[in-house]
């Protein structure tokens, strides 16, 4: 396709992708925006003031979401690194089966499992606690993290580690100065996915949080059922921001094809 036709088409597609953000932005600043007004008659900062007030529980939701997402990401990285290494560079019987277990967890709906886990967490006293929510958030994040890291490890040359070891580096030095820098793009992309999955998760939190754990998606869901469009829009925009910042920070790693290829070759 010629570029004279290509670029306008791309700009049109990008425009369509951005379209749902436009009413969000306008609603968050509008004081009553009735049909058929194309532009609100009156503007207000009232919804944004509400976002920052304690009554809306947005601040609380932000902190709870943040703690859960960071803990989930950290723990997934901790178990995903060794598993990704094994899947990426070693051959062993049952490898395909183990990969299938991880893949199945991505594909199969968590609903039934959630109802089972909820039953157990209530008896363990973990229902409605941050710990319980973090535990179930690990179910979707570990498979993504492991598959992304496995794909980066597949392109990893273990010879560098052997060399560093033979030159007298400690196992920790080898990991932090040789291995980690080489697999960094995978660590960043895997962490981005894990963070976003956990930050955006509604259903898992709903079932295990028992109304006590009030993450940002829970705040938004409650607001939506209340029908306050202005505040819903402002909260919606607020809940995009951390993910967007993370995306911008990892934009270089996202251009690493090996890290992403992991999801295209499962």
């Amino acid at each position: 396709m010629t570029s004279t036709l290509r670029n306008p088409l791309i700009i049109l597609i990008i425009g369509a992708l951005f379209l749902p953000f436009l009413p969000l932005l306008v609603w968050s600043l509008a004081q009553g925006w009735f049909f058929p007004q194309l532009v609100p008659k009156q503007w207000t900062l009232q919804h944004w003031k509400q976002v920052f007030s304690a009554v809306s529980r947005v601040g609380e939701g932000m902190i709870q979401s943040g703690v859960i997402a960071l803990a989930t990401t950290g723990l997934s990285l901790l178990v995903g690194l060794p598993a990704g290494r094994a899947l990426g560079i070693m051959e062993f019987p049952g490898k395909a089966g183990l990969k299938l277990v991880l893949l199945m967890r991505i594909i199969v709906s968590p609903l039934a499992t959630l109802m089972g886990i909820q039953f157990l967490l209530i008896r363990l006293g973990l229902s409605g606690t941050l710990l319980g929510v973090i535990l179930v958030h690990l179910m979707p994040t570990i498979p993504y993290m492991t598959l992304v890291l496995a794909s980066v490890f597949a392109n990893f040359e273990t010879g560098y580690e052997t060399q560093a070891r033979s030159l007298g580096a400690s196992p920790f030095q080898v990991f932090s100065q040789v291995t980690l820098p080489l697999i960094a793009p995978g660590v960043i992309v895997g962490s981005l996915f894990a963070f976003l999955i956990s930050w955006n998760e509604f259903l898992l939190t709903f079932f295990v949080g028992d109304g006590q754990v009030f993450t940002l998606p829970m705040v938004l869901f409650t607001l939506l059922q209340g029908g306050n469009q202005g505040l819903s829009a402002a909260v919606a925009i607020t809940s995009i921001l951390p993910g967007l910042v993370f995306l911008l920070l990892s934009s270089r790693a996202l251009q690493n094809d090996a890290a992403l290829g992991g999801l295209g070759n499962v």
Binding site: L17, P20, A83, M90, L98, S109, T113, F119, L120
Partner: protein, 301 residues
């Protein structure tokens, strides 16, 4: 090939056991959480454990779930939404990836905009954009195309679930495009140049050279997307038709019913949902196992 020195001192363990040891934390967490949850769900659905349990296994919950007149229609609706949304996303993503392949990095990055957006936020945006008093309706009114909000086609909570489909396309196309672009960048352009130089038309070159190399990526990402949409709850709950409802919404309704005796039915429905998605993915992996193994070895991303 892989020696993995330094992980286990002196290599006393064989590589096989090293690998199992490395996989252990991740796999056991998944198996305990997911498998354990499924097992507890099974016991609940059979009435062996639970609030109103009689202690004896019974299939009453399954009977109730399958007797629900909405069940089959819900299953059909879930399959319809997941199939259409996945199919359209896949085709459009291949097109978009080919389009972006030769464009600048700015374009690829801008097309990833919906990737970090929570589904719930997408739902709010779609509601405010597509509802009868939404922004699109206002634009058409100002242009004089419609006379009132009644004339605007119903796109949210509509019987055809167009709003749900649009929301999933909006969210999944950037995800799939990202994966396809990564694969395309790994393909040596010489293959395509050669095909063109030997006289293949652009279409022929795409069909016989580019597409086969994308195949394994298409098959795996479409399976991930299908599974996700089939089991997703909040989008059809808020944007979808009110009757019939998708299977996950049906499960949610039964689970949150004030009548606690419906709990086992909710769990049974959830298990049926899981079994269906497992069966679909196994069938899919079976059917496509041939074409998956060949090109991936070439690309080995």
């Amino acid at each position: 090939m892989a020696r993995g020195n330094g992980l286990v001192r002196e290599g006393r363990l064989s590589i096989k056991w090293q690998a199992y040891l490395l996989m252990l934390p991740a796999v056991s967490l998944i198996v305990v959480l997911f498998g354990g949850g499924l097992l507890l769900a099974l016991l609940q659905s059979l009435g062996v454990i639970g609030l109103l349990s009689q202690g004896r296994p019974t299939l009453a919950a399954y009977q109730a779930a399958l007797d629900n007149p909405e069940f089959l229609r819900s299953l059909a609706l879930s399959l319809y939404i997941a199939t259409i949304a996945t199919g359209l996303s896949t085709i459009l993503s291949v097109g978009l990836a080919l389009l972006l392949r030769t464009a600048g990095r700015w374009a690829s990055f801008a097309c990833q905009i919906t990737l970090p957006i929570p589904h719930l936020v997408g739902v709010v945006g779609m509601l405010l954009l597509l509802s009868p008093s939404g922004m699109l309706s206002r634009i058409l009114y100002v242009l004089g195309w419609i006379q009132s909000d009644q004339d605007f086609p119903l796109l949210v909570n509509d019987a055809a679930n167009l709003g749900v489909l649009l929301n999933f396309l909006w969210k999944e196309i950037p995800f799939m495009t990202l994966i396809f672009l990564a694969i395309l960048r790994g393909i040596d352009p010489a293959y395509e140049m050669q095909a063109r130089a030997l006289g293949a038309s652009p279409w022929r070159c795409f069909w016989d050279v580019t597409l086969p190399m994308l195949k394994s990526g298409i098959l795996s990402s479409s399976l991930i997307v299908f599974g996700f949409i089939f089991g997703s709850f909040e989008v059809p709950f808020l944007l979808g038709s009110t009757r019939p409802r998708t299977l996950p919404v049906l499960v949610y309704r039964a689970f949150t019913d004030t009548d606690l005796s419906r709990r086992p039915e909710a769990v049974a429905l959830g298990l049926i949902l899981s079994v269906i998605s497992i069966l679909i993915s196994v069938a899919y992996l079976r059917i496509t196992s041939d074409s998956r193994s060949r090109p991936s070895s070439q690309l080995s991303l």
